[in-house]
Amino acid sequence: METFGLWIAALLTLGIMSFLYKDNPIYKFCESIFIGISAGYWFVSLFWQSMYPRLYLNIRGAISTLLHEGRISDDRWLYLVAGILGVMMLLRLVPKIGWISRWPLSFIVGSTAGLYFITYLQSNIMNQIRSTIIPIYVPGNLGISISNLIVFVGVFCGLVYFFFSREHKGAFGGAAKVGIWFLMITFGASFGFTVMSRMSLLIGRIDFLFGTWLGLIK
């Protein structure tokens, strides 16, 4: 099994790599298997991880309390609401009443909007303002003073760049330009930084092909 699995893995690796040369039947074959298996995997794992424990086990538990203890008050019945909303989602497949699926959709979008309105205001605005409030002049430490000043100017100009309702002209335009320079430095740095981790991934694959599979690398 081990060797067989190894060979399968190696052949699939080569099949995907062949895409670099051009689109070809072997790649298309690997791609189709990949999509099919991933969709199946996703459904099965979602079922066993969420649907089964959350919906099935809870509702079953609630039914058994009802039958054995005759008690109807059980929080777990609330999962029925989720189940109903879920079924409403599936009604999309029936053209005439497909609009019912807007209910669960609205539920998800509404809760997201309410939640993110507040969390982004807190994490992206309040917390960032707080960490940007730094003394521009630190007595006796020129280095820190200068870098604090640059950070301040960078945040200021970066924000100016994102203004939409004012023409980027004159001093305002100048600040916006400095802002986009700062952004470009960041994007460049981010690119340079990522090269290392992407190369590590390739090294990992090469290691697998030439080491684990062919035994050329010790």
Partner: protein
């Protein structure tokens, strides 16, 4: 009925989520947890929609015998096979060593890792074709990228200067730009959420 009630639901649930952030009381906490739980369950049901869509698109390709319909057949076969294996009675599919996980390990993982590693090639190609000093902005971008990449190249005594520059870039301008970026995104998200809550933004609901 078709659009008013769903919209009332958006506003109702949305404003509740907003308000519960400020109310520590237990009842609000519990309701909040229920809402999150329900969202997950709805997502599980929606997965069936996804599977249906995937099957339908591929089956129609097979039926119409469009070029490459054989691959559609392979995709469906892979999916059905995985579903069958995932529901073998008496086997805990998500535990290590099950047939399901073996398939995942020997087929899914290597393809995924290889797809991911293609990025190494693409990064090189993007560097060659796109990083051209056409404008001041492009020049800044590529200089900053080169400085960061040179950290991994031995340069003798120059390494020290480069290291200093790289550290400076990472701790000063990088920090400043990221903050401005995040504040901007924060405002964008806040404004979009507000538009959704007020019902200004409701394209996702469609039209009759």
């Amino acid at each position: 009925m078709r659009r008013t009630l769903p919209f009332a639901l958006v506003t109702g649930v949305g404003f509740f989520m907003l308000v519960q952030y400020f109310v520590p009381k237990e009842e609000f906490e519990i309701a909040y947890e229920w809402i999150l739980d329900w969202t997950i369950v709805i997502g599980c049901f929606a997965m069936l929609l996804g599977l249906w869509s995937l099957t339908r698109v591929n089956i129609s390709k097979v039926q119409r015998k469009t070029p490459g319909w054989g691959y559609s057949l392979i995709a469906i076969a892979g999916m059905v096979f995985m579903l069958l294996v995932g529901f073998i009675p008496g086997q805990k599919s998500l535990e290590r060593g099950s047939t399901f996980m073996l398939l995942f390990e020997y087929i899914y993982i290597p393809i995924q890792a290889t797809m991911f590693s293609l990025l190494a090639f693409y990064i090189a190609s993007a560097a060659y074709r796109a990083f051209r000093a056409r404008t001041v902005l492009a020049t800044i971008l590529l200089l900053s990228a080169i400085i960061i990449m040179l950290r991994l190249v031995p340069l003798g005594p120059l390494s020290e200067i480069n290291q200093w520059l790289a550290n400076f870039i990472l701790t000063v301008p990088n920090m400043a730009a990221k903050r401005a970026f995040w504040i901007g995104v924060g405002l964008g998200v806040t404004a979009t959420s507000l538009k959704i809550l007020l019902g200004i933004e409701r394209t996702y609901m469609g039209r009759d």
